[in-house]
């Protein structure tokens, strides 16, 4: 069984070698002429005035948290969607209850102001 992995290993080795070989080859051929304009981050445009690594405000996290919850909950819709003809009315009711609970949560956080971008 391990020999089935040999193509994968070969592919990985090739993948690693390719950029290294290319870079080494180009270094031999290309002319080297560094000057100030060329070394700046943007050759045409404004120089950056402050460090780009700023902290995100906490609001992004709240939106991210809410997104994760509501996004992942939909995973339960897939099994139902595939077999809805077998599950019939019972399945539909079950899903409506499930979505109803999600909607209650949604109304609550909306009213709490978690979706306001102040």
């Amino acid at each position: 069984m391990p020999k089935n992995y040999i193509p994968i290993l070969m592919f990985m080795a090739l993948g690693c070698l390719f950029p290294l070989v290319t870079l080494a080859l180009l270094r031999l051929i290309r002319p080297s002429d560094p000057h100030k304009a060329k070394l700046s981050p943007y050759e045409c445009g404004v120089d950056p005035v402050y460090q780009p690594r700023e902290r995100y405000t906490v609001r992004y996290y709240i939106v991210a948290i809410l997104f994760v919850v509501f996004d992942v909950e939909t995973v339960f819709l897939f099994p139902w969607a595939i077999r809805y003809d077998v599950l019939g009315l019972f399945g539909l009711m079950e899903m409506l209850v499930f979505l109803g609970i999600l909607v209650v949560g949604f109304i609550w956080l909306w009213k709490q102001g978690a979706l306001e971008w102040v």
Binding site: V58, A64, I65, V68, V69, V72, E73, V75, F76, P79
Partner: protein
């Protein structure tokens, strides 16, 4: 087909990495990610077993583990944000208001 043992060993390694990460790391977010790694290794175990013995319930379990992991992530991040607001740090060594 890849034999069952491969998956189980990979899952066990991932699980151990998660445990080690949780014990060794000092950053709250990293510790939190280690827990997620543990849960995902469990998911892998479930799916591998489920496919091997041809019973679907393991894959259903994975759905629930994923959803609960998401809920835990939401609550965990909220707690971490609340902690950060009062503390301005995410280092677990500063969780020292109460000594053991």
């Amino acid at each position: 087909m890849v034999p069952l043992n491969y998956f189980l060993i990979l899952a066990a390694i991932l699980f151990c990495l998660g445990v080690i990460g949780f014990v060794m790391k000092r950053n709250l977010i990293t510790m939190f990610m280690s827990i997620e790694l543990m849960l995902n290794s469990v998911n892998l175990t479930f799916v591998a077993f489920s496919r091997h013995i041809n019973v679907l319930s393991g894959q259903i379990f994975v759905f629930f583990v994923m959803v609960i992991a998401a809920a835990e992530a939401a609550v965990g991040l909220a707690i971490i944000v609340a902690f950060y607001r009062n503390r301005e740090s995410l280092n677990v060594d500063e969780v020292d208001r109460m000594k053991l």
